[in-house]
């Protein structure tokens, strides 16, 4: 299994009291995998208003995927951009690594592609 950026784009620090600037969690990846999922244009267009694009762009850069820092104004009809976005959201994925809160520095472990978002884990 693996964690795709579409999932990471919804994860924020859950530590009690850490409510500000706790997103996006910074990725440090030891093992990445790239899938070959077929480009699904309609799906990506539907996701456009649901993702936090600037956060995604920063997170993608952390695992070596370049996205424009701002969403292009013509995103919905910009096929080259949509393909790039699909690749970033659905194909590049983290198998082993960590997620670190940019605010409180709490570290969440990703093992076997599964991020551990339990509130009281002390293992690092």
């Amino acid at each position: 299994n693996e964690m795709h950026l579409l999932t990471q784009n919804m994860l924020q620090c859950i530590k009690k009291g850490c409510n500000k600037d706790n997103f996006p969690l910074r990725i440090s990846a030891q093992e990445l995998r790239t899938d070959e999922r077929e480009y699904d244009r309609d799906f990506v267009i539907r996701m456009l208003p649901r993702i936090e694009y600037e956060a995604l762009s920063r997170s993608a850069a952390e695992i070596g995927v370049a996205l424009p820092p701002q969403m292009p104004a013509d995103a919905q009809s910009n096929d080259a951009f949509l393909q790039l976005l699909h690749h970033a959201l659905m194909n590049v994925a983290v198998v082993t690594g960590t997620l670190t809160c940019p605010n409180c520095a709490r570290v969440y472990i990703i093992k076997n592609g599964i991020p551990n978002m339990m509130p009281n884990e002390t293992e690092v």
Binding site: N1, E2, M3, H4, L6, T7, N9, M10, L11, Q12, I14, F23, D35, R37, D40, D42, F43, M47, R50, I51, E52, M90, N112, G113, I114, P115, N116, M117, M118, P119
Partner: protein, 225 residues
């Protein structure tokens, strides 16, 4: 997309591994292949809520509902569970069935990390549909409501839907909750849910209980906290 027959789906899902050693405190009752197939088949054939959709399974266990959702054409599927052991089983099941599900370990009772609140208190998530078989709340009172509310929060802002299994005896209570929250809940199917005698406190060899498949439509939601 929707080419799979109910019998085929059931045949596949009966092969999905479940709990080796279920944990009583987590109410880990398995979702049988038969129940899962009927539930998912109804969701796709009657409502088209799986094909090409972003789907979330809360309390995913071995991943049977998510795997079935992928078989019926979901574009993206995520599963959340608190239990590391069963998540390892889910990961193996995904590999075996060659489906791709993003798994996350989290305590839904504490904080659901797949939903964010913006500064206006509105939720943000990418999901269209939640499918789940949550704990019925027989061991931990109210946990069924916690799951249902988390599921509603995961799709409300996208005008999505939640499909969830609950004991028929709790129906009136859940319908009242829905009215309180400003979402519309309907009973899509009544099912007989066979709980095999896995736990020592079960006196009978197995137990048939009456279960509702609820559909929570958040298209016209007026969510209240």
């Amino acid at each position: 997309v929707f080419g799979m027959k109910l019998k085929q789906l059931e045949g596949h899902l009966q092969q999905v591994a479940g709990f080796d050693r279920p944990k009583v405190e987590l109410e880990q009752y398995p979702t049988s292949g038969t129940i899962a197939a009927r539930m998912l088949y109804t969701i796709e054939s009657s409502y088209g809520d799986l094909g090409d959709k972003a789907v979330l399974d809360l309390g995913c266990g071995g991943g049977i509902l998510g795997i079935g959702a992928q078989m019926l054409g979901s574009s993206y599927t995520a599963g959340v569970d608190i239990d590391n052991d069963i998540l390892a089983v889910a990961a193996e099941n995904c590999a075996e069935f060659e489906v791709d599900i993003d798994l996350v370990r989290a305590d839904i009772g504490e904080a659901l990390p797949m939903v964010q609140k913006d500064k206006h208190g509105r939720s943000r998530s990418v999901f269209d549909t939640v499918v789940m078989n949550p704990p019925f709340g027989t061991r931990v009172k109210g946990i069924d409501i916690v799951f249902l509310r988390a599921a509603v929060d995961a799709v409300a802002n996208n005008g999505g839907v939640v499909y969830s299994l609950h004991k028929t005896s709790t129906r009136e209570h859940l319908l009242r909750k829905g009215a309180e929250w400003g979402v519309s809940i309907s009973v899509v199917a009544e099912l007989r849910y066979d709980i095999p005698a896995m736990y020592q406190f079960h006196k009978h060899r197995s137990l048939d209980i009456q279960v509702d498949l609820l559909r929570v439509d958040c298209a016209q939601h007026r969510l209240r906290a």
